[in-house]
């Protein structure tokens, strides 16, 4: 895993993003909110490494602070979705019966009849902008994938000999689930979480691009791309740099997911996503 250059690249990219997110005020050369109207729409230079935007704000500093929102939203959405999905999927898979039917047939199927990003868009359209609402909107559709995965894995594990043996020994439900079944369910869930991080970052950037994410003046990569659109002719750097950073971030999490899959879950070593 360590020798693969793509994996190394993904570690490097994710490391840089995390560093930017955690230490943005220390790394950013300038205040990302400070407007310098006389210096607006400058090309990259030694003073402003990635140029300035239409209000004369330093694009490089805004990119660094933008990583903050991406990481914050990405990790929160995945953490919430994972927790809910693990709980609901475990209950449905472990106990089966009516509970499973209700969760699987009614709740999951109705939520899936609305594609994930559209569900989030519809929620945000009515809830209004804000980082908390954004995280909520993305998590409402986000947990379904984990729940389905966990349910399937648990259904499979339930029939295994080691589970039957533990049951025969009189192990209680909670202990059986936590100590015996979960360790086998967790690896594929981690793989999905890595890919899900890329997905959540993409979704956040999409909503911010549409003006439905975190409201300005907070810098977000999607919002910066949207601002850049008005200046495609006179300041193309405002489009190119945020576009590249979103792409590299998502690419990095996809590589990470692939690498983790090879490492953790040889059964899934199929050659598509």
């Amino acid at each position: 895993m360590k020798r693969n250059p793509l994996t190394m690249f993904s570690f490097l990219m994710i490391g840089v993003m995390l560093l930017c997110a955690l230490a943005a005020p220390l790394i950013a050369p300038r205040d990302p909110f400070a407007q310098q109207l006389p210096d607006r729409l400058q090309s990259p230079s030694s003073g402003h490494w990635l140029g300035t935007d239409e209000l004369g704000r330093d694009e490089f500093s805004r990119m660094i602070f933008g990583a903050r929102i991406s990481i914050q939203v990405g990790f929160s959405v995945v953490a919430i979705s994972l927790a809910v999905g693990l709980l609901v999927g475990s209950l449905a898979g472990f106990y089966g019966g009516l509970l499973d039917r209700f969760i699987n047939l009614i709740v999951i199927n109705s939520l899936m009849s609305f594609p994930g990003i559209l569900l989030a868009l519809a929620m945000v359209a009515f809830l209004g902008p804000g980082i908390g609402k954004l995280i909520l909107a993305l998590s409402i559709g986000g947990w379904i994938g984990y729940a389905r995965l966990v349910r399937g894995e648990i259904l499979r594990a339930r029939e295994r000999d080691y589970v039957q043996a533990a049951r025969a020994l009189g192990v209680r439900d909670a202990r059986l689930l936590l100590r015996h079944i979960w360790p086998n369910v967790i690896p594929p869930v981690i793989v999905q979480a890595a890919i899900g991080l890329g997905g959540a970052i993409l979704a956040e950037a999409t909503l911010s691009f549409l003006g439905l994410g975190v409201p300005p003046p907070v810098p977000t990569w999607g919002g910066m791309l949207n601002d850049g659109r008005a200046h495609l002719f006179d300041a193309p750097h405002l489009t190119v740099f945020p576009a590249l950073s979103v792409m590299l971030a998502i690419l990095a999490f996809n590589f990470l997911g692939d690498a983790l899959r090879d490492r953790l879950d040889p059964r899934l070593r199929k050659e598509f996503l």
Partner: protein, 311 residues
């Protein structure tokens, strides 16, 4: 007998889709109640007079009890009446119908581009499995998957419309206007489908019937395209259906970037002007489209693959 079972399957599938439409319609109805505070005040803004607020509330039916609102909404929706747009001052269903063709044109063009790119690329990759050409295509498709449409669109405009001056920047008109938006929208799907086609081709190429076809002395092209691809495409059809939702969501971004007069851009305009009846109508139309497309792919699947029909 055969036609009878096919007709029954089709009827069954349609009957399965109806409750889903009902659930979606219900969800869309309740969306307006997610608005923090008073939706009517939100729509009119701070300067509204209280008389105006009450008048709009009455005309939207929001002064009635919730149960009555819901029943009225369902009754009207069944007749195709989705209320009146507050900004455009015209019926929501008319607005949606007038923008619908542009979105269909865009999404179908994107789908066509994705298939035209993905099928040859996936087959090529599978045939040359493990070579540098396979790895290169794999890398390109991963890039395509990671380059979001809202980043790809502006970059495509920069390259093809501004630097090279081959295509128009944005707008709606002839075929030239369709190229960049359709490419932008279809790129991610092309990447996903390339991986799918490759994987299912690899699976099919290991099957006995392929060995039989080769043993009969059929040419490689005939083995690949007449025998293997046909079976390989079955699983691809399902993915196309599921991914159509992503295309419809992507249309919102793409139409905004390229000023394409479709339902996605209409939705965004409606959201920005807090025209809630129009937003509800747009989301309803988009989700019903998604459900119908999935129903159609399901049916296509049934007709292509006789094994499913029997079950």
């Amino acid at each position: 007998m055969k036609t009878f079972s096919l007709a029954r399957t089709i009827t069954e599938r349609i009957l399965y889709a109806l409750p889903v439409v009902f659930v979606v319609a219900t969800a869309v109805f309740f969306l307006i109640h997610l608005v923090p505070g008073d939706p009517v005040e939100q729509m009119l803004g701070e300067r509204a007079q209280s008389g105006e607020v009450e008048a709009l509330r009455r005309s939207l039916g929001l002064d009635r009890p919730l149960g009555e609102q819901y029943l009225n909404y369902l009754k009207k929706a069944v007749r195709g009446d989705l209320g009146t747009s507050f900004r455009f001052n015209s019926p929501v269903s008319g607005l949606i119908l007038s923008r619908y063709p542009a979105t269909m044109q865009l999404t179908l063009a994107a789908l066509l581009i994705a298939l035209l790119l993905a099928i040859p690329a996936g087959v090529y990759s599978a045939v040359h499995r493990g070579t540098w050409r396979d790895r290169l295509l794999g890398f390109v498709s991963l890039l395509g998957l990671s380059f979001p449409n809202f980043a790809l669109g502006p970059v495509a405009i920069l390259i093809f419309a501004i630097a090279l001056d081959w295509l128009p920047v944005s707008g709606y008109g002839g075929l030239a206007y369709l190229v960049l938006p359709a490419l932008t929208l279809g790129a991610a799907l092309a990447a996903i489908l390339t991986r799918m086609v490759r994987a299912s081709m690899l699976e099919e190429l290991g099957q006995d019937y392929v060995r039989t076809a080769r043993a009969k002395g059929l040419g490689e092209a005939s083995v690949l395209y007449r025998h293997t691809l046909r079976n390989g495409l079955i699983s691809v059809v399902t993915v196309v259906g599921l991914q159509f939702g992503a295309l419809l969501a992507g249309a919102m971004v793409t139409e905004t970037i390229f000023s394409w007069p479709g339902i996605g851009r209409l939705t965004l305009q409606a959201i920005n002007s807090r025209d809630y009846p129009l937003v509800q109508g747009c989301f309803l139309a988009i989700s019903i489209t998604y459900i119908v497309v999935n129903l159609l792919t399901d049916l296509a699947y049934t007709m292509v693959d006789p094994r499913i029909r029997e079950v």
